[in-house]
């Protein structure tokens, strides 16, 4: 009986991941910082984390939640509110006398606070909402995300949230670059740091999924009645998954704030949740690696590779018809429809990268016999 899975695919995967990190670091030192590649990599890393956190709920626990944008908003605001330098506060909170909070916390603390705040909101929302099933739960979480958005824009909370005005001037990814005394960048880290942050968070989620608790969550997804009969407390485990997922969505929100350099509640719409849901579906529901791949793919397509569709193009004397502002979104929608109709299991299905590698190894082994 061979219960121990071969370690080899795992090692190959880790080596690949390490190679990616090294490649990112080298590329950042060599290529101009304005390259589109880094926009894609930064945003991709943020979306990868949020997509994996959503996959933890939708793919691994079987809770169909659409509240991700709301929890990201909470995370982004908490991060922004607690890291805007005190000297800048008068300018940022110009309509609210500089705001009420007049201190800052270190970035790492603020990021963790962002996650905890989102998890706390998730806990409160989860009390009534997690009693619901499937579509009803999706609608309820979507509604709560909208309510959170409205609350954060409310002028009454202005001294804290700056009302409907944007938060800005907090540390962003570019502040991670190491500069010399003249202000020239010596070591570029503005892409590597988000990669590391997202990587650590995703690693934690993967560890959770492969622990005893992760197995319990998968059991709930497969068969709630049987899971309960095996002594798994449904309410407790669902709440756990919901809070953990929201924690990482909050961290993702904080990272999105760093990426965007500004935060405004009105940008965290349900459209953002759908984008993330799409990433999850395209990557494969129940596959962490799928979510990571597809988020980079998605961001690259929407920000970079399909940009040319938005501009007038001429091939020789021939002007290509239809190409104008907004056409990119049409093409994008069609691609998505094709994926959803014909590749319903997404890129990875519910397999992970090590699974694919080991399956190949297994086939080879059988061929030898």
């Amino acid at each position: 009986m061979n219960l121990k899975r071969s370690k080899k695919p795992m090692i190959i995967t880790l080596a690949l991941v390490a190679a990616v990190y090294i490649a990112v670091f080298i590329a950042e030192q060599q290529l101009p910082a304005t390259s589109m590649l880094f926009t894609v990599l930064k945003k991709g890393a943020v979306y990868a984390l949020v997509a994996v956190s959503m996959n933890l709920l939708n793919g691994f626990t079987g809770i169909f939640s659409l509240g991700q944008a709301g929890f990201m908003l909470v995370g982004a605001y908490v991060y922004g509110i607690f890291t805007i330098p005190v000297v800048q506060r008068a300018a940022v909170y110009q309509y609210f006398d500089g705001g009420v909070i007049q201190f800052t916390v270190p970035i790492i603390v603020a990021v963790i606070m962002a996650g905890l705040a989102a998890a706390f909101f998730a806990f409160l929302i989860g009390l009534p909402v997690l009693r619901l099933k499937s579509d009803y739960l999706a609608i309820a979480t979507l509604g709560f995300a909208e309510i959170i958005r409205a609350i954060f824009q409310w002028n009454g909370l202005g001294p804290v949230t700056n009302g409907s005005n944007m938060l800005r001037a907090f540390p962003n990814f570019n502040d991670f670059n190491i500069k010399d005394t003249q202000g020239n960048v010596t070591v570029y880290l503005s892409t590597l740091i988000p990669f590391i942050m997202a990587g650590v968070c995703i690693l934690l989620i993967v560890l959770l999924i492969n622990s005893s608790y992760g197995r319990a969550l998968k059991a709930i997804r497969d068969d709630e009645v049987a899971a309960e009969a095996m002594g798994i407390n449904l309410a407790h485990h669902k709440r756990l998954a919901f809070c953990v997922s929201s924690f990482f969505a909050g961290v993702g929100g904080a990272m999105l704030a760093m990426y965007q350099t500004t935060v405004q509640a009105k940008s965290f719409t349900s459209a953002m949740t759908y984008e993330i849901l799409l990433i999850v579906v395209i990557g494969g529901i129940g596959s962490v690696t799928g979510s990571v791949f597809s988020s980079f793919l998605f961001v690259a397509c929407s920000e970079w590779w399909l940009r040319f569709l938005d501009e007038q193009q001429t091939i020789g004397d021939f002007q290509v018809p239809l190409l104008r502002n907004g056409f990119r979104l049409v093409v994008f929608s069609i691609i998505i429809m094709i994926v959803v109709l014909f590749f319903r299991r997404g890129i990875m299905g519910d397999k992970e990268l090590p699974d694919l590698l080991s399956r190949r190894a297994g086939k080879k082994g059988r061929a030898v016999k």
């Binding site: 009986m1 061979n2 219960l3 934690l204 560890l207 959770l208 622990s211 005893s212 608790y213 197995r215 319990a216 998968k218 059991a219 997804r221 497969d222 068969d223 009645v225 049987a226 899971a227 309960e228 009969a229 095996m230 002594g231 798994i232 407390n233 449904l234 756990l240 953990v244 129940g286 519910d350």
Partner: protein, 286 residues
């Protein structure tokens, strides 16, 4: 009333009535199961056997009655609200002064009652090994953080060893890494039993364990049930339609028909009981 008169008693149902709207699915059922026994619950289709199981395991809340487990009441209920008027059973007032006791199915599994299902409910996307491993989750001492950071390695290892052992015992060690749903039917049944055993039960409820098996498989299953009963010091309460199996291995039999208990006794007594024969075969009209 007496609580735990009999020290050997594992499970006792007292005047359990389950009413869905106007339909009385179980009518005033009382029975007990003693330590080390194999007790069968039989009856024609729709007699309410699975409903009785669901009342014991907390899936349903019975409308009226008490379930004792090792002398401790784990379910206490009496008709309430609209049900007071609608109630179609008897003894409706008997427990109205008792404090209600309601437990979710997972709590009841914690107490030591494990079950299998009539239509197999394995975790479809997981291997046979993981299916059984999930059964060990409820006895964990770790919390989410220690589990995530692998600080519970010792417990995890013990659970994995226990799982491997259980699979060995039920004879599925060679298919441990196969997807649960890819196994043949008989093995899926055994896997479900292994999964139930992983929760460390003292009472095992089997809901038609031999459904869909051929006579030879059924015989093997009978031996298997007796074997695990002795090995794990269990008490077994089962629903079954295969009369050969029931008569072979049960110590006592309860017969249900239309939600009512119509007979109780040893296999020999039940075989001769005219009421049971009538319920199964119908009465010849003169």
């Amino acid at each position: 009333m007496s609580e735990a008169v009999n020290k050997n008693e594992v499970l006792r149902l007292e005047n359990i009535t389950m009413q869905f709207g106007g339909v009385v699915a179980i009518n005033n059922l009382s029975l007990e199961v003693n330590q080390g026994e194999i007790v069968a619950l039989i009856g024609p289709n729709g007699a309410g056997k699975t409903t009785a199981f669901n009342c014991i395991t907390g899936v349903y809340e019975p409308t009226n009655g008490i379930v004792y487990f090792h002398g401790r009441p784990i379910v206490v209920n009496h008709p309430q609200g609209k049900m007071v008027k609608q109630y179609g059973g008897i003894n409706g007032d008997m427990y109205k002064d008792r404090k209600l006791v309601v437990h979710t199915p997972d709590r009841i599994t914690h107490m030591g009652i494990a079950r299998t299902f009539q239509n197999i409910r394995l975790f479809k996307s997981q291997t046979a090994f993981d299916n059984v491993l999930i059964g060990t989750h409820l006895r964990k001492m770790s919390n989410m953080f220690t589990a995530t950071f692998r600080l519970n390695a010792k417990e995890e290892k013990a659970n994995r060893e226990k799982t491997a052992q259980l699979l060995e015992i039920v004879g599925l060690a060679d298919v441990a890494n196969e997807l649960a749903t890819s196994l043949p039917y008989g093995k899926q049944r055994r896997l479900e039993i292994a999964r139930a055993l992983a929760t460390d039960p003292t009472l095992l409820l089997l809901d038609e364990p031999a459904a869909g098996m051929n006579p030879q498989e059924t015989d093997e299953l009978g031996e298997f049930i007796v074997d695990i009963k002795n090995r794990f010091n269990l008490t077994v309460f089962m629903i079954e339609h295969h009369m050969n199996l029931v008569m072979d291995i049960s110590d006592r039999i309860y017969v249900l028909d239309f939600g009512k208990q119509i007979a109780e006794g040893t296999p020999e007594e039940i075989q001769k009981n005219p009421v049971v024969i009538a319920a199964y075969l119908g009465v010849e009209e003169e």
